[in-house]
Symmetry: C2
Subunit: 193 residues, 2 copies
C-alpha cells in the first residue's frame, strides 16, 4: 500500500507533521478492485471515503429503463463517495465500480471523523477539498444547463484529456448525457476538434 499520492495531495494544502502523518496512515486501508467490480452498490450504505491511487473508478445512477448515467470518473488522485449516504447512513443512490483494475485507499467513516476532530489541519484540508468539489459541481451544472451535446463533448475533452483516449466511447456518452449512438453520429457527421 502506497500512500505517497494521498500524502502529496494533502501537502498541497496543509503541512502535517510526522506524528500526524503516521496517525493518518494508521487509519488508512488499501484495496484493489478488478475491472467491473463494485466498490459501492446502490442500496448499500456508503460508509467509506475512497481515494483512487491507480486505475479508474466511476460513479453512476440507473434510470427506470436500466440505462446508466455516469456522474463522475475518478482516475488516480481523485476522491469518490455517495455523500448523502455517507452523511446520513441512508442507502446509496449511486453505484461505484471499476472501469479498469484499480487500487484505492479509504477511511472508514468513524476513522475519518476522528481524524478531522484530532487533526485540525486535516479538517482544513477537507474544508478546502469540499470547496473545490462545490466549484466543480457548480461548473458541471452550468455546463449541462447552457451547452448542447457537442459543446459538452468538447468540454469533456478539455477537462479529461487523458481519459478521452482510454475510455470507451459509451462511457463518455453516458457522462455527457447522450446515447452512444448519438455520440457516434455526432463525431462522424461533424468536423470535430
Amino acid at each position: 500500500m502506497d500512500h505517497s499520492l494521498l500524502l502529496s495531495s494533502i501537502a498541497k494544502h496543509v503541512t502535517l507533521d510526522k506524528a500526524e502523518e503516521e496517525y493518518l496512515v494508521s487509519l488508512l486501508h488499501y484495496k484493489k478492485a478488478r475491472r467491473k467490480q463494485f466498490v459501492l452498490e446502490e442500496g448499500d450504505v456508503s460508509s467509506k471515503i475512497v481515494f483512487v491511487t491507480s486505475g479508474c473508478l466511476r460513479s453512476y445512477a440507473v434510470d427506470k429503463n436500466g440505462t446508466e448515467h455516469v456522474l463522475q470518473f475518478a482516475p488516480s488522485g481523485w476522491w469518490i463517495v455517495d455523500m448523502r449516504s455517507y452523511i446520513t447512513g441512508e442507502p446509496a443512490r449511486l453505484n461505484i465500480d471499476a472501469i479498469e483494475d484499480t487500487g484505492y485507499l479509504f477511511f472508514h467513516k468513524a476513522d475519518f471523523e476522528e481524524l478531522n476532530l484530532k487533526v485540525p489541519k486535516f479538517e482544513r484540508f477537507n474544508r478546502i477539498l469540499g470547496q473545490n468539489a462545490i466549484a466543480t459541481y457548480q461548473h458541471r451544472q452550468i455546463d449541462n444547463a447552457i451547452f448542447a451535446a457537442m459543446e459538452r463533448y468538447a468540454n469533456f475533452c478539455q477537462l479529461y484529456p487523458s481519459l478521452i483516449k482510454t475510455l470507451p466511447q459509451k462511457q463518455v456518452a453516458s457522462y455527457i448525457g447522450v446515447t452512444p449512438e448519438f455520440l457516434s453520429k455526432m463525431l462522424n457527421t461533424q468536423i470535430v476538434k
Copy 2:
C-alpha cells in the same frame, strides 16, 4: 443587522464560545437587495460568501440565446456563492440576484479565510457544510440525469414546499430545466399532485 439565524445555524453543528461568536460577528456585514437587484454579476469576481436572512436570492447562468437557467434558490438560512470565482478570483459565470426584497449577511474572502484559521470550530462547521452541499449537488445531478421533467417538478415541490407557493412559475420552469410554456402545458394536461 440580526445574526441570530446565522448563529443558530452554526450552533446546530458546533458550539462557539462567547469570544468566538463576537469575533465572528465583528467580521460580518449586512446588506439589503431590492427585488431584481444584483448581488453578483457574471464577469465580476465573487469575493463574498453570502448568507440570506430574509427574502430570497437566486443564482443563474445565461446561455448563448440569452435564456436564463436557475441553478439555486437561496431563501433565508441558505448560503450562496460562485465557488470557482471565490476560490480562484476568476470572473464569475453565475449571476446572483434578488427575487424579492432580501436581507443578507456576508463575509469578505480575507475575513472568511482568517476566521477559518483562527476558529477551528468554524472551520469544522464549514467542512460539514461543504459535505452537505456536495450531497445536495450529487442528488440534483442524479435527479437531472435519471428523471423526466414531470418527476423533476414533483421533486421540486417536495424539496421547496414553501417556495413553490410564492415563486413565479417561470422561475420554477427555469430551475427544473424546461421552458415556461412546457411547464404550463405539463401542469394543465396531466393530472398532477
